[in-house]
């Protein structure tokens, strides 16, 4: 069975796109083949920095013949019907149709069309250029003289050559004949850019891999990864060190070389005084090198003054110049870092705070200096509520932003917070303060760790509340997909902080406190901010599997600003509605609500008054009234105790009297006084359930 070999040879493909591109190529080509009825035994795709390759094994040489029969009219049918049949079947005359007899229908015409299967190579010549033209690169470009015209070929980087061969192993395969924007498919590829740049003729996959290996190209990315990892571990082991493994970096460097050559370089021991995160950030981000771990000393993990680099060249000097060059760059980078580290340590964090006055946080919200003053006051106020020492919380807030004006954070903005912590530790701050300086930014994203140290929590909450309230005060609120100040993230951060530490923290007073720091802002927007929290909490709980409608049902109650209680109530409500009593009560209260809605609308009035016991005509009315009074009372007391399970239990006692009421009592009695009193009774049921949630917001069948 014949094979397809396809290679798209281009300028360097970004490492992060290679794996996905190979997979896309495989899928697009094989899907197109299958769609046209061409099955195959197996397909595999590969990527290097300069090529995408695809091998499809076991394709048929040609497609299956297709025979189609089309039934026509009876023999002797009217001329119009016969002509219509000839036309639609594409026949010149009735002589070309067969006549078939059927015992029931008699004789009729049948047109038989036989379409021979197409040669696979011709089908490939259609599929491949179409796949290339519409390839789903995350970012693609135009290039060269062709880009003068609109609609020229787009590729991730300029595409230079296409190798496409098709044929059985035993015979000489043929070129798949196609052309894309002036690039004609052929049998030529090229080896390693520097070590074997010559053209190579390849006819089949079995020759392709070894030919590339001879030309210093390892086609398979996983093999390149294995080679790098294996060699890196060996090099480290030989020196008594351990590789700090880094999946993302490994994948990236495997996509930066066609022929990995792993080498080790070193740097001066004195650089190890720099925090390891800084060394690693510098060497990884800028140099794409691996760092190494030295054996523990006094039980403390430490980095070694060496690194692993992966080059793309077997150099004529054994790599000495390459190592020397990389060491120079690493040394220069670490010198910068060491300079920043030493310079920064000379100034205490508190002495930097004033310089925050030169950094505008937002033109309408003042400088970072002003912001720090607000954070300090807020954190101090929050401290008792989160179990933190007010002095420590205020201190941490005062220092929290000071690292923004350090050299190191100027250079590596991604180290903000972490560097503040190092500098705080260096100047002997309380450990809780140092930790809070780092952690007050957290949690950053949905996957980020949530701090739980009370001082950290106080400052983290202050940071986020000030941001939220500040931007609300100046009307810069998120709209649609636009959230330039990441206010959604800030609100989610507050929610996660509160829930992780199970904090009782009614938000309205905190919003008011934060707003108080913004002169003349007023607090008219507090309700909006709270609504924003409610929306975020809904999203958060929904992601955790909670029901959207239950959250709505709880938030519909007035004054719900204690997020922990909201969550507890939603949980209890969910469990209650999973019980038979809960479902029945929900059905009953829904029925009551429906009747009330209709009747209140009809009468143009509400039935909000308490039912009059003197007007009860049936025992079920009396029973329900009694049950309502005690259930409501009990539920309210349970809610006051924050015992939501208890509140639900109290309500479940309503089930039997409600059911009995609906069984036996006609609400719309002829006597208007009776009717009004019964409607008032239904209203009392609605009011009782509102002790725990607004049942009218609960959707579905209670499930």
């Amino acid at each position: 069975m014949p094979d397809l070999l396809l290679e798209l040879f281009s300028e360097e493909i970004p490492a992060r796109m290679q794996r996905r591109a190979a997979e896309d190529l495989r899928k697009l080509v094989t899907d197109a083949l299958v769609e046209r009825g061409f099955l195959y035994d197996g397909a595999r795709a590969f990527a290097t920095p300069r090529r995408l390759a695809l091998h499809v094994a076991g394709l048929p040489p040609r497609g299956r013949d297709v025979r189609e029969e089309r039934k026509g009219p009876r023999v002797g049918a009217p001329e119009g019907a016969l002509q219509g049949f000839l036309k639609s079947a594409g026949l010149a005359s009735l002589d070309e149709a067969r006549i078939v007899s059927d015992p029931k229908k008699g004789e009729f015409y049948v047109a038989v069309a036989e379409r021979p299967g197409r040669d696979t190579i011709d089908v490939l010549a259609e599929i491949l250029p179409a796949v290339i033209r519409s390839f789903p690169w995350p970012k693609s470009m135009r290039w060269g003289a062709a880009s003068r015209e609109p609609g020229s070929l787009r590729w991730v980087r300029p595409l230079h050559a296409i190798l496409a061969s098709f044929g059985p192993e035993t015979e000489t395969p043929e070129v798949v004949p196609f052309e894309v924007d002036g690039i004609r498919a052929g049998l030529t590829t090229y080896g390693h850019r520097f070590m074997a740049p010559q053209a190579i003729e390849v006819r089949r996959f079995a020759d392709y891999l070894p030919a590339l290996e001879r030309a210093r190209v390892v086609l398979d990315a996983d093999r390149r990864r294995d080679i790098i990892l294996h060699d890196a571990r060996d090099l480290a082991f030989a020196r008594g060190l351990e590789l700090v493994e880094d999946e993302g970096l490994l994948e990236e460097v495997a996509g930066l070389v066609e022929w990995p050559v792993t080498l080790m370089g070193g740097f001066e021991e004195r650089f190890l005084d720099i925090p390891p995160e800084v060394i690693r950030a510098t060497i990884r981000a800028n140099q794409k090198c691996f760092v190494l771990r030295a054996p523990d000393r006094d039980g403390r993990e430490r980095l070694a003054n060496a690194f692993i680099l992966v080059s793309n060249l077997v150099a004529s000097d054994g790599g000495a110049a390459i190592v020397a060059g990389n060491e120079r760059v690493v040394r220069a980078r670490l010198s910068d870092a060491a300079f920043f580290w030493e310079t920064d340590k000379r100034t205490r964090l508190e002495d930097r705070v004033e310089r925050l006055g030169a950094i505008v946080f937002h033109e309408k919200l003042g400088t970072q200096f002003a912001r720090v003053a607000r954070l300090a006051a807020l954190a101090r106020g929050l401290a008792p509520l989160v179990g933190a020492d007010p002095d420590l919380a205020e201190r941490a807030a005062r220092l929290a932003k000071a690292d923004l004006v350090t050299e190191m954070v100027g250079e590596f903005p991604e180290l903000q917070g972490l560097m503040g912590r190092y500098y705080a530790e260096q100047q002997g701050e309380d450990p809780a303060v140092s930790a809070a300086v780092e952690e007050h930014y957290k949690p950053l994203g949905p996957g980020d760790r949530v701090p739980t140290g009370p001082v950290s929590v106080a400052v983290a909450l202050a940071d986020k509340l000030d941001t939220l309230v500040g931007f609300w005060a100046i009307g810069e609120t998120p709209t649609g997909s636009k959230d330039p100040y990441a206010l959604r993230r800030a609100a989610l951060g507050v929610i996660r902080l509160i829930l992780s530490s199970a904090l009782r923290l009614p938000l309205l007073p905190q919003i008011a406190a934060a707003a108080g720091a913004h002169p003349a802002s007023g607090t008219a927007f507090s309700g909006d901010v709270l609504g924003f929290f409610a929306d975020r909490l809904k999203v958060f709980l929904r992601d955790q599997g909670a029901r959207h409608d239950l959250i709505d049902a709880v938030f519909a109650l007035p004054g719900q600003d204690d997020l922990l209680m909201v969550v507890r109530r939603v949980e209890a409500l969910g469990r209650f509605l999973d019980t038979e009593d809960g479902r029945n009560l929900l059905a009953g209260s829904r029925r009551a609500a429906n009747i009330l809605r209709i009747e209140e609308k009809k009468d143009g009035r509400a039935y909000a008054a308490a039912p009059d016991a003197g007007l009860f005509a049936l025992p079920e009315e009396e029973a329900l009234a009694g049950a309502l009074a005690s259930a409501r009372d009990e539920a309210a007391r349970a809610v006051a105790r924050e015992d939501f399970e208890g509140a639900m239990r109290a309500l479940s006692a309503l089930r039997a009297p409600v059911d009995a009421f609906f069984d036996r009592v006609t609400v719309n009695a002829d006597d208007p006084a009776l009717r009004a009193n019964r409607l008032a009774l239904l209203n009392a049921l609605r009011a009782a359930t509102r002790e725990v949630a607004d049942f009218s917001r609960i959707g579905g069948e209670g499930r």
Partner: protein, 323 residues
């Protein structure tokens, strides 16, 4: 002066001369630096404006680049607030631009059998110029020595055809080929002993003075004023360059002077930024203001002869109506 002194491995100026000769031999016009302060060689109108429109263009030049924030008072061996870029622009890009680039490295003394050259993804974007392109950082043994970009859009205008842009970091390359660890130790003229002039002899004092200026002294009130003035002047010149409703020739007549004011606004913004008087949040709005100017200049340029507009028309060659 003996020729040996002008070997790119011996002198900074030799490196420049070698690159100039190399690209001159490949059909480039060798221009001189633009006579305004710019943050990168890309701002030179020979790149920004000439990258636009259908006409072929090949140019190479050295451009002093000012990055006020990168000043280190002459104390950092690798970082300067004023340095040189060697800029090459080829429109349309030739199919063998990567090979040409590698040949230019060979020409300045980089042995490609000894050194690890890599093309590492670097999508270039200049928010202030409304420009983007795809390409790479070119690494030599782990050091970024050049940027290689296929322009896709400049000043908000799609490039048709695409130009290839090469930017060599001259000091870094020179440090590499001279084997020097500190930029101020670079041999500038190739002389030996008492005849040697170093990069430090030429620039150290300037780095100290300009660092002081950029971080401590630059008059921010004046700079804020200059920013507004340049912005207003750019708009005024664009308006003044309009041919008027009854003119026979609808082409724009003053795209380049207007663009000068855009360059000026950009540099003034960089200075204000170095002085630390622009917040993260305000930055964006300043960048957008410069970009608006760049886009307006690009649109005007497309309506000039060099931008490809035919005489008598205000139309760009693609036939789109004049903006």
């Amino acid at each position: 002066m003996p020729d040996a002194d002008l070997q790119p491995t011996r002198s900074f100026q030799g490196l420049i001369l070698t690159l100039q000769r190399f690209w001159a031999a490949r059909g480039c016009v060798i221009l001189q630096p633009y006579d305004m302060e710019v943050g990168a060689g890309t701002f030179h109108p020979a790149t920004t404006l000439r990258a636009l429109g259908p006409k072929p263009w090949k140019a190479a030049y050295v451009q002093p680049s000012r990055r006020p924030k990168d000043g280190r008072y002459g104390e950092n061996p690798n970082r300067l607030q004023h340095y040189y870029q060697f800029q090459v622009i080829l429109k349309p890009n030739p199919p063998d631009l990567q090979e040409l680039y590698l040949a230019s490295l060979r020409a300045i003394g980089v042995d490609l059998a000894l050194h690890d050259i890599r093309f590492v993804e670097d999508d270039w974007e200049s928010p202030t110029l409304g420009a983007w392109g795809l390409g790479w950082e070119c690494w030599c043994d782990g050091m970024e020595v050049s940027q290689f970009t296929y322009f896709q859009q400049v000043a908000g205008v799609e490039c048709a055809p695409v130009a290839g842009e090469l930017t060599y970091g001259l000091e870094r390359l020179a440090m590499y080929v001279q084997g020097v660890e500190n930029v101020y130790d670079l041999n500038f003229n190739g002389g030996e002993g008492a005849d040697a002039v170093t990069y430090g002899d030429v620039f150290l004092q300037a780095e100290q003075e300009y660092s002081r200026h950029n971080f401590e002294a630059a008059d921010t009130a004046m700079l804020f004023r200059q920013f507004r003035d340049a912005e207003a002047a750019c708009r005024a010149y664009l308006a003044a360059g309009e041919p008027g409703p009854d003119a026979a020739d609808a082409r724009h007549r003053m795209a380049q002077p207007a663009y000068d004011q855009c360059i000026k606004a950009s540099h003034v913004f960089n200075l204000l930024d170095a002085r630390g008087v622009i917040s993260v949040t305000e930055r964006q709005s300043y960048i957008l203001r410069v970009r608006d100017l760049a886009k307006a200049c690009g649109a005007a340029w497309m309506r000039t002869e060099a931008g490809g507009a035919a005489p008598g028309s205000g139309q760009d060659p693609a036939g789109a109506p004049a903006p």
